[in-house]
Symmetry: C2
Subunit: 691 residues, 2 copies
């Protein structure tokens, strides 16, 4: 025999030997994983799946109660998998399945309970998405990754031994024994609050209970009998509003979304005034903590009521927020965050029991607070990073979350940098004479006719433009009350594009002779956005306020770009402001650097999305913790370049500035010599415009 023939012979012998060993074994392939193996006659498909590590769910442990292990006998795929027909290759529909179908509704054709159907021939088995523990939740925006479910809390139905005076093990020991024997969970522990419910629950369930285990270790709830509902809440604690998403931990479905004003507002409108309150009132941080925790607990209750979920079914909470909110929720005095060196008490992720934070949820449930990045770049920014995942992309992404501070992250898979910029509250409509919060009646869109300089606008709550018929009637109830953040951005950008405002931000008084829309107010001029009640004007001071805010934002981004030696290929605007602003106008004002406008997107409440990802996916927590540790933190307060960038960014982009993408879309003015009010001095000191 030649070498090849010898090899072939050896292989044939081996194949025959394996066949002989597995004479009564059947081949089974699971899709979509492609995992395959040979199993003895009579093995349940759930047992086979477990042995192969196929992702097939089960809460009841194979008792035909939960229906989570449903599988399809995939007849259509046999050719592909080179197996024979499945007729008679699985045990027939049985009594347990009939009982299940009677109680919970008929199964689709070809579908079986994996724990009941037993192998008696070669099979191809398809695990539908809803039977997979690690199923994917697709997100609305096409460019974002789906959320893979990797549950932090899972339910385990167990049958616990009854007390026996001959073997006086405690109820807990017998529960733990059942978890070992029925689920292989050997290292479980329980907190006092959950433990206090154990005896009554065991007896109410007649020694059958469902235990909720966190990370397979902490028993956070015990429910009588078979239970299959486990929820979590992702909470985004903003300085102004708090948003909560009640989510099914198994399916990832948001079953209720609620929001409320942050009641801390009574202690101060913005963050710094709240920190001042604490500084002036010793122990005041406890009041602020109590207020925000009560609001969180109230939202949880509201969401639970909306969705018909009991508080005891809420088994995990995740929380994001800026550093001051994050610290106050955890009961940590934020005083140090009120001044340099802005030392956080804690920056890493933190886990505390919900009841420690005054949350009335499952007795042992935890709250997971995402990590903070730096003294001004909080767990909210970490949430944005988790949601947008710049660390997974090749493209350089600029993430901007605009609030009282803008939190800015820049980079890609190789390197991430972060900083915050003190934009102040102008973008939120504060410090703007006609500004107001985004609410029905607020102007949110503005267009100015380049020739006549006449404006038209849209208000929140009405789809008509102000110059369209029926606008007055449509806005009769709300009225036109003021201008919200995105409205003021558009107003000033349109004023700039209409040459009412110069690139230095000066309202051109010379136009007053041409149009009544420009009028003198003291020594400066204003633009009349709306006549009537109330009369809405954009004053020179308003333009200045927006200039300061946008310059701060741009300077922060510029600092990171300079440090990275690169420009962004994508820009993502996060937060409430970011989701309402039109990217074109943001770029026209120079809030954000030039970029292909098709690559500028709004991410909505990305911080909240990050909290929801952390709620559903345990691995995502480890990921964001590691990513945050690796982020290069830049403190703008001590970077000399920041001041330089800030001053340079006060002007609006002109034709000569490096905004090629912007210039394709709008007609930018050519550079002109600055006029009036110190513009000259500023331009001389600075680099030539935002670049």
């Amino acid at each position: 025999m030649g070498a090849k023939a010898r090899l072939d012979h050896a292989r044939a012998v081996r194949v025959r030997a394996v066949r002989a060993l597995t004479l009564s074994a059947h081949r089974v392939v699971f899709t979509p994983s492609g995992k395959r193996g040979e199993f003895a006659d009579g093995t349940s498909l759930l047992a086979a799946a477990r042995e192969l590590g196929v992702d097939l769910d089960s809460v009841c442990g194979g008792r035909g109660i939960c229906g989570r292990c449903q599988i399809d006998i995939a007849e259509g795929d046999f050719a592909k998998h080179a197996l024979l027909s499945s007729a008679g290759h699985v045990t027939p529909w049985g009594e347990v399945e009939s009982r299940y179908a009677d109680k919970r509704g008929a199964l689709p054709p070809g579908r079986r309970l994996g724990c009941q159907a037993r192998i008696c021939g070669d099979l191809v088995i398809d695990v539908p998405p809803e039977s997979q523990v690690h199923r994917q939740v697709v997100r609305k925006r096409a460019e974002t990754h789906p959320i893979e479910i990797d549950p932090v809390v899972r339910l385990y139905y167990v049958e616990v031994g009854e007390p026996d005076m001959h073997e006086p093990a405690s109820d807990l020991r017998r529960l733990q024994q059942a978890l070992i024997e029925q689920w292989g969970l050997a290292e479980t522990n329980v907190d006092l609050a959950t433990l206090a419910t154990l005896q009554k629950t065991l007896r109410a369930g007649q020694w059958k209970v469902t235990a909720a285990l966190r990370k397979g270790r902490d028993i956070v709830a015990i429910m009588p009998g078979f239970a299959e509902r486990a929820y979590g809440v992702a909470i985004d604690v903003g300085s102004t509003t708090i948003a909560a998403h009640l989510t099914d931990l198994a399916s990832g479905e948001v079953v209720a979304a609620v929001g409320a004003m942050n009641p801390q507002i009574r202690f101060g409108e913005d963050l710094m005034s709240r920190v001042s309150y604490v500084m002036m009132n010793p122990g005041g941080e406890k009041e602020l903590t109590r207020a925000v925790r009560e609001a969180m607990d109230g939202l949880i209750g509201e969401a639970a009521r909306d969705a018909g979920v009991s508080r005891g079914e809420i088994m995990e909470v995740t929380m994001v927020g800026n550093p001051i909110m994050h610290h106050l929720v955890l009961g940590l005095d934020p005083t140090e965050l009120g001044g340099a060196p802005f030392a956080l008490t804690i920056d890493g992720a933190y886990e505390a029991r919900g009841r420690e934070l005054g949350l009335d949820i499952a007795p042992g449930a935890f709250v997971y607070a995402l990590p903070c990045i730096a003294g001004h770049v909080g767990a909210d920014a970490a949430g944005v990073v988790l949601a947008e995942a710049p660390q997974l992309r090749e493209e350089l992404t600029l993430l901007v979350d605009v609030g009282t501070n803008a939190e800015i992250v820049f980079g890609n898979r190789e390197r991430l940098l972060a900083c915050s910029s003190p934009t102040g509250p102008a973008f939120e409509g504060a410090q703007i004479s006609c500004g107001q919060r985004a609410a029905p009646g607020a102007i949110e869109r503005v267009r100015i006719d380049r020739a006549t300089l006449e404006p038209r606008f849209k208000v929140i709550g009405c789809d008509l433009w102000s110059d369209e018929p029926g606008f007055a009637a449509a806005t009769e109830t709300t009225g036109v009350t003021g201008v919200c953040g995105s409205g003021i951005i558009e107003a000033i950008a349109e004023m700039f594009l209409s040459r009412i405002v110069s690139e230095d931000g000066v309202i051109d008084g010379g136009l007053a002779v041409r149009t009544k829309r420009v009028e003198q107010v003291g020594r400066t001029f204003a633009y009349v956005l709306r006549e009537g009640q109330p009369r809405l004007l954009v004053y020179q001071t308003d333009v200045r306020a927006i200039q300061l805010a946008k310059a701060a934002l741009y300077a922060g981004a510029k600092l990171l770009m300079e440090r990275a030696g690169a420009a962004p290929e994508r820009v993502t605007l996060a937060g409430a402001f970011g989701s309402h602003i039109d990217p074109l106008y943001a770029m026209t004002l120079g809030l954000i650097p030039d970029c292909d406008l098709a690559k500028v997107a709004s991410a909505g409440n990305a911080a909240g999305t990050g909290a929801r990802i952390a709620l559903l996916n345990l691995a995502a927590r480890a990921e964001i913790e590691s990513v945050v540790r690796g982020i290069e933190k830049i403190e703008t307060a001590i970077e000399p370049a920041f001041q330089r960038h800030f001053v340079a960014a006060m002007a609006f982009p002109n034709k000569e500035d490096a905004f090629p993408n912007l210039a394709k879309r709008v007609e930018l003015p050519a550079r002109k010599e600055p006029s009036g009010e110190g513009g000259r001095r500023r331009r001389r000191a600075a680099a030539p415009g935002p670049s």
Copy 2:
């Protein structure tokens, strides 16, 4: 060269090579460990000790602040260790040591700070006991093992980096970094309550703090600057009284011992009436829990005041108690313990934060509850086992902790068995007509003249016998108010030895003709222990109550002996009752089985001692947890043999019974035919007397 010569040569070469390598190294021997090594010139003795694993304490980490690493330059031992004189072999007394001596007092001659004295020649170093972390605490009773200190909480002085805006790590991260770099403690974590103190403490200590770490992992307290005091409290929660020992965790010294009545008494005198209260009043367990926790916290406060210790310096608490007390302290409903099958909620050891139990101690401090053995054999019995350590002995030990239930443990290093017996409260003076609690004025010792049948007695608070001159005057303030538990035991035992009471427990009415001390009361007779105000009589019902109690106790012990197939070689009586009872009388009544009376001892509050051992020694916790798991639990309620032993044990031991040790000491009556009140029936049904 022959083989031996070759070997010798090789050895000589190796020795020369090592010498050459360590040319500037010096040999150092540490006593008492005998550990030795060679160290480079200039190595500090603390560093050398650490490298060798020598047990040398340090809190400040070698900064010459704590003085815990004091060592003796042991000149006297050189000959023994074959080293040269130490003159000049250690660096001279230095500045840091002078500063230490100025501040904290001079060191004894020859003593140095191990962190400051550096090696510059061969040395013998003695580590005195007070410089060892694992020093031993000798206990009062000679036969008990000393407690080795193996601290659960240790202090670590660290110098923490200041906040740096260029590297914005949080205060916690920098503290943890310091613990890694300065102490090698890599896996530390912190609870919210302790974390909330971090920023102020770091600043108050100017970035120097002392962290208290539990098991080298949980930061339970942070103190500004250098701190060296760490205390713990061992608490024994009895149904009647609660005792607390405030203990220095480093030295093991008890700095304050306090006790109080258990305020739960207002909900019921004995355990079962408290469980009934909970059953009758839903939520009543919360009241009982609150009451006992408040009492514990009050005692901690009292002990702290007594010893001049602050509550924040109390960093660990250990707790023992019977199962019902144990569960109530943990906030667990004891209802299930009120009836068969007596299911504990939890039997294993449990750790909870002190603040969860309402204890105002160091913010992150833990309470360690010792494990329960069975539904009636609690953490108090586990404490007794830990204190008496039968599992370490060859001799078979019978441990009896008498309360409303007697908790009984029997065995040796090979096997331990445990049960509880429902003795009822008779031994505590309850259900006895003249009974009272042990208090001044209570009769505690009784003797009866065998011929005249006249009694004499002693009362608590007076050293004189009642027939001695001055007794009336000495007891004028207290009076003679009743008979406590040990008094009633002695009274009945003396009545038996004086033949006033038969072996069946019947008061011999025939004696009424001989002495006024025996008088008829209805259809039975009584013995007049004291004339006067109050008149104190031992009634037939009192004898019966004691018989029932002692029979239960004996039957429990007998059950274990029978199961083990052996008799005890030692008997140890634990608890308040056990420490006041005279072993001779206990045996005379047949409370305990026959045993060499020299081997019958009282252990005092052994349960409390067990709590103190668990407080000081971490390994002891693992030990008792493992021992308790291995104990064979016998439930007397379902053991048919128990009833048999119980009936048989109703009689008092007679000459023919197997009490040879007892018979050597007292003149026991010979067996006689039982008389009256069903005695005959009982004796027939039963085995022949206690044996």
